[in-house]
C-alpha cells in the first residue's frame, strides 16, 4: 500500500517533527500540529466514558479533553512519571479544528526531515491500522511511526478504535 501523503507533502520541503515514546515504541508527529506541551495537571475524569478518554483539564481557562494514548494504542496503563506530559494537538475533523491533549510517556526531540525521506508503512505485520499511520521515519537509526493525528485522536472514531483493538489482536495472532 502507498504512503498516505498528498502531492504537496511529497515535494522536497523539509518538515519539523516531534518524536515521543509510548512504552518502548517511538512515534512522530508534525510539529505544526502541536500547539504546546504541558506538564500533567490534575485531570478530572468524566464518568461513563471509555478508558481512553482520560478526562478534562484546564487549559488557560478552557476545557481540554485528554486522551490516554497508551490505551488508544492498546498498551497497558502506567502511573505518571516526571517525564509524562500532554501534547496539545490541533486536529481537523470534518472541516472543524479542535484541540485535544494526548498523554505520552516522554517527549524525545524535534528534528527536520525532507518529506521524500518518509517511507511507506509496512502493510504486513503492522501492529496498527494503516489508516492511522502516515509513514515510517528513520531518524538517526531509530525507526518511528509518523501518525495521522487527525484520524487517531478524533472523537468520531471511538467505535472504530475499539474495533481496532480486536484487529490488533487478530493481527498479532496472524
Amino acid at each position: 500500500m502507498a504512503v498516505k501523503l498528498t502531492k504537496e507533502e511529497k515535494t522536497g520541503v523539509t518538515t519539523s517533527f516531534l518524536s515521543f515514546k509510548l512504552a518502548e515504541e517511538h512515534f512522530a508527529i508534525e510539529v505544526k500540529k502541536i500547539m504546546e506541551i504541558l506538564e500533567v495537571p490534575r485531570i478530572t475524569k468524566v464518568p461513563q466514558t471509555p478508558d481512553f478518554l482520560k478526562g478534562v483539564v484546564n487549559l488557560r481557562g478552557g476545557v481540554l479533553p485528554v486522551i490516554d494514548t497508551r490505551t488508544k494504542f492498546g498498551m497497558p496503563q502506567v502511573d505518571f512519571t516526571v517525564n509524562t506530559c500532554i501534547l496539545v494537538l490541533s486536529i481537523d475533523i470534518n472541516d472543524e479544528t479542535i484541540t485535544v491533549g494526548a498523554l505520552v510517556d516522554s517527549v524525545s526531540e524535534v528534528f527536520e526531515m525532507e518529506e521524500k525521506h518518509i517511507q511507506p508503512s509496512p502493510t504486513i505485520g503492522a501492529r496498527y491500522r494503516s489508516e492511522f499511520i502516515k509513514g515510517m521515519i528513520n531518524e538517526k537509526d531509530q525507526f518511528m511511526m509518523l501518525l495521522d493525528i487527525d484520524k487517531v485522536f478524533s472523537a468520531a472514531d471511538i467505535e472504530t478504535i475499539l474495533e481496532t483493538h480486536n484487529e490488533i489482536e487478530e493481527a498479532v495472532a496472524e
Binding site: P41, Q48, V56, G61, V63, P65, I98, V100, A155
Partner: protein
C-alpha cells in the same frame, strides 16, 4: 465592502418588514410610515454610496410613494402594502444580484417598477394638493455665543452667522466681550440675530449642528411682525451693538407689545402668551440645558460586533475564575489588607460580570418580528384567517439562545397554523369565531424565560395520539399512560400526527428535533391541549447559557456542580438505609422520594456505612434525590463546553474552572435521571430475559 452593504441592507430590510407588518395592522400609524420612509431613504443612500444604481433607483421610486403617503398625497391601501411586500422580497434578492444578471430577477424587477410607476401616476392624477405647507413668516431671535476656543477645531463662526442671516431678512447684532488678557486666537464675539423667516426652528438649529458643544445657542420666536423695520426696535438693539451687554429682552418685548397694542392685532389671549414668553426669554440658560438633556437621551445605543462581545465574555469568565483563585488564596493567607482587596475585587467582578452578561441579552422582539411575516404568508396560503398576537417582545434572552430558537419556534408556529387552527367553516360549525387566534408570548420567571405558543384551534386528541403510537410500536396497548405522558409522545422521533403531508409542516421530522434543539439550550418544552379549545406549548429556557448559580459538591473526590435552580432541599441520610434498599425509595419529610446513588451510577465504590448527603432536585413534576459525598457550597459557575469528545456524556452539560484551576463538571440532573431510568429499564429487560 460589499459584505458590509449586504449586512446593513438585510438589517434595514428586516426593519422594513416589521414596519410594513405593523402598518398593515394599523394603516393610520404615522410613526410606521415615517420609519418606512426613513429605512428606504437610508437603503437608497447606502445603495448609491456603494455604486448600485439599479437598487438605488428602485428604492427611490418606492421612497417616492411613501413620501406621498407621508404627506397625505396618497392613500395607503391593501394593494400598495401587498406591492410593498413584493418589492421588499425583490430587494432581498437583488442585493445579491445588483446588476440583474439573473433573467428571472430582471423580469421581476421591471414588472415591479411598472407597478410602482402605476401607483405614482395614480397619486399624481388624484392629488392637486400643494407641496409641503410652509410655516408662516415670523420673527425669530437667535443668540449665538461661541466658546472662546471655537477656532481650535477649524470652525469659522462668521460663516454660520451669514448662513443664518441668508434665511430671510435679518438684523445681526454683534457683541464683544473684551477682557484685559484677551488671547489673540480666542473668540470674543457673540451675536444676536433677529430674522424674519418661514424656516422652522429645527432648520435654524441645524445651522449650528456642529457647534452645539462649543457654543451657547438660544432660539426664540417673537410674537411680533415687521419688527426689523420698526425704528424703536432698531434703536434699542443698535444701542448695545459691539458692547458686552446683549439686548434686554424684557425691554424689547415691552416696547414691541406696546407698539402692537396700539394696533388692533393683539388681543387678551396674546397678552398672556407674551407674558410667558418674556419669562422664558429671561430664563435663557435653564431653558437651554433642559432641551439639551432631552436631546442627548435620544441616542444612547451603539452597535458592537458580536466577536468583541464574545471576547469580552471570555475575559469576564477568566476574571471570574481568577477572582475565585484570589478568594481561595486569601482564605489561606489571612491578612486584613488582602481581605479588603479581595472582597472589593469580588464585588467589582460580580458587577462587571452582571453588566457584561446583560450586554449579550437581546430583546426577543427581533425574532418575533420575523414570525409576523411568516404567519401572514402561511395563513393566507392555507386559506385560514388568523390573528397573530405577540406579547412580551421586550423579554431579553442571550443572543445565542435566540439564534438557536428561531427554527424550533418557526416549526411550532407552522404546526399550529397547519394542524391546530381550523378553517373558518369548521370553526363556525363548532361555534367559534371564524378567525383563529395564535398567541406567541414570552415572560420571565426567576432565572428562566418562558415562551408560549397558544392557539385556539382543534387541540390534540389524546386517543388519536395513543392509537397512532400503538400502531407505530412506540407504546404497547397494555401500557398505562397518563394523558400528559401521551401528549409528550408528540416529541417522539418519527411521530407525526398530520393526516397528510403538507408543504407547510413538512414530513415527520419535527417535534422531536424541536425538543432536542430546546434541550441543547438546557431548556425544556411542555404541551397542554384540550380538544376543540386549543393547544399551548410552553418552552422554558435559562436566561443565559454561560453562567449558572450552582451548588459545588464532590463525589469520590471529583467536583460537580448542580444548578441551584433545580435544587429543592438537602438532606443527610444513612448509607445503610440505602445499602439494602431495593425499591430505591427514601422517606423524606414524610414523602416517598426515589433516589439515585451517584457513586453507584458513576461507577465509583459504594460506601456501606456512615452518612451521605442527599440533594433533592426537581424532575418535571416530581422530586428525585441525588446522593453526593460532600457539599462545598454555592458557586457561580461559568460554563464551558466539554467538547465533542464527551458528546455522549450529555448528563454533564459543561465544565467550570474552579479557583484552584481544577475542573468541576456541571451536572444536568434531568439527564442524570433519564440515564438512570433507562439503565433500570435495561436491567429489567435483562432480568426478564434471564
Amino acid at each position: 465592502m460589499k459584505l458590509t452593504y449586504i449586512e446593513e441592507a438585510n438589517e434595514l430590510l428586516a426593519n422594513l418588514e416589521i414596519s410594513l407588518l405593523a402598518l398593515e395592522n394599523n394603516s393610520s400609524d404615522k410613526t410606521c410610515i415615517e420609519e418606512i420612509f426613513r429605512v428606504m431613504h437610508t437603503l437608497k443612500g447606502n445603495s448609491s454610496m456603494f455604486g448600485l444604481p439599479v437598487i438605488t433607483d428602485f428604492v427611490h421610486d418606492l421612497e417616492t410613494i411613501y413620501d406621498k403617503v407621508r404627506s397625505g398625497e396618497m392613500e395607503l391601501n391593501k394593494e400598495l402594502i401587498d406591492c410593498s411586500f413584493l418589492c421588499l422580497d425583490h430587494i432581498k434578492v437583488i442585493i445579491y444580484d445588483a446588476d440583474l444578471e439573473n433573467v428571472v430577477n430582471k423580469e421581476n424587477h421591471f414588472e415591479l417598477l411598472k407597478k410602482i410607476g402605476g401607483f405614482i401616476e395614480e397619486a399624481g392624477s388624484i392629488s392637486v394638493n400643494e407641496k409641503k405647507e410652509s410655516q408662516a413668516v415670523r420673527t425669530v431671535y437667535v443668540l449665538f455665543e461661541p466658546s472662546a476656543k471655537i477656532f481650535d477645531n477649524g470652525t469659522n463662526p462668521l460663516f454660520l452667522v451669514s448662513e443664518l442671516a441668508s434665511m430671510g431678512n435679518s438684523k445681526v447684532v454683534p457683541h464683544f466681550k473684551l477682557s484685559e488678557n484677551q488671547a489673540h486666537d480666542e473668540c470674543f464675539t457673540y451675536w444676536e440675530i433677529f430674522i424674519e423667516t418661514d424656516r422652522s426652528e429645527n432648520e435654524i438649529r441645524d445651522v449650528f449642528v456642529f457647534v452645539e458643544d462649543n457654543a451657547e445657542i438660544f432660539i426664540k420666536e417673537l410674537p411680533f411682525k415687521n419688527v426689523l423695520k420698526n425704528k424703536h426696535f432698531n434703536d434699542l438693539v443698535s444701542k448695545n451693538m459691539y458692547g458686552d451687554v446683549g439686548t434686554n429682552m424684557e425691554e424689547l418685548v415691552h416696547l414691541l407689545s406696546d407698539q402692537q397694542n396700539n394696533e388692533p392685532v393683539a388681543d387678551a389671549k396674546k397678552e398672556v402668551v407674551i407674558e410667558t414668553d418674556v419669562s422664558e426669554a429671561g430664563a435663557i440658560h435653564s431653558n437651554k440645558k433642559v432641551s439639551k438633556e432631552v436631546k442627548e437621551k435620544g441616542a444612547t445605543s451603539i452597535r458592537v460586533s458580536s466577536d468583541k462581545l464574545d471576547e469580552l465574555m471570555n475575559l469576564v469568565s477568566e476574571l471570574v475564575t481568577t477572582q475565585a483563585g484570589l478568594t481561595l488564596f486569601t482564605a489561606k493567607n489571612k491578612t486584613p489588607e488582602l481581605e479588603t482587596i479581595s472582597e472589593n475585587v469580588e464585588k467589582l467582578t460580580r458587577r462587571l460580570r452582571d453588566t457584561a452578561f446583560g450586554m449579550t441579552l437581546v430583546p426577543i422582539n427581533n425574532m418575533f418580528g420575523r414570525f409576523q411575516r411568516m404567519v401572514r404568508d402561511i395563513s393566507s396560503s392555507l386559506g385560514k384567517e388568523v390573528e397573530f398576537v405577540t406579547e412580551g417582545g421586550e423579554t431579553e434572552l442571550d443572543k445565542t439562545i435566540i439564534e438557536t430558537l428561531t427554527d424550533p419556534l418557526m416549526h411550532i408556529l407552522r404546526n399550529s397554523l397547519d394542524h391546530g387552527i381550523e378553517k373558518a367553516a369548521d370553526r363556525v360549525t363548532k361555534g367559534k369565531s371564524p378567525g383563529g387566534k395564535l398567541i406567541l408570548k414570552s415572560f420571565y420567571s426567576g432565572v428562566f424565560v418562558y415562551i408560549q405558543i397558544i392557539d385556539d384551534g382543534k387541540g390534540i386528541n389524546v386517543e388519536t395520539i395513543r392509537d397512532k403510537a400503538i400502531s407505530k410500536g412506540i407504546i404497547k396497548s397494555t401500557d398505562n399512560l397518563s394523558d400528559k405522558e401521551i401528549l409528550d409522545l408528540i416529541f417522539y422521533a418519527g411521530f407525526s400526527t398530520a393526516e397528510k403531508i403538507t408543504d407547510v409542516s413538512g414530513r415527520g421530522v419535527g417535534m422531536d428535533v424541536v425538543k432536542r434543539n430546546i434541550a441543547d439550550l438546557r431548556g425544556n418544552i411542555l404541551v397542554e391541549s384540550e380538544v376543540n379549545v386549543g393547544t399551548t406549548l410552553t418552552i422554558k429556557l435559562p436566561l443565559t447559557l454561560s453562567i449558572i448559580d450552582g451548588l459545588l459538591v464532590t463525589v469520590d473526590k471529583v467536583n460537580y456542580i448542580i444548578p441551584l435552580s433545580v435544587i429543592t432541599k438537602c438532606y443527610s441520610v444513612k448509607n445503610e438505609d440505602m445499602a439494602n434498599n431495593f425499591n430505591r425509595l427514601l422517606t423524606l419529610d414524610g414523602e416517598q422520594v426515589p433516589y439515585i446513588n451517584l457513586r453507584e451510577e458513576f461507577g465509583y465504590t459504594v460506601q456501606g456505612s456512615g452518612e451521605t448527603l442527599l440533594i433533592a432536585v426537581n424532575n418535571g413534576d416530581r422530586v428525585v434525590g441525588i446522593t453526593v459525598d460532600m457539599i462545598i457550597g454555592e458557586y457561580q459557575a461559568v460554563i464551558k463546553p466539554l467538547g465533542r469528545h464527551h458528546k455522549k456524556q450529555d448528563f454533564v452539560s459543561g465544565a467550570s474552572i474552579l479557583g484552584d484551576g481544577t475542573i468541576a463538571l456541571v451536572l444536568d440532573t434531568n439527564k442524570v435521571i433519564d440515564l438512570y431510568t433507562n439503565n433500570i429499564k435495561r436491567e429489567e429487560k435483562t432480568w426478564q430475559l434471564n
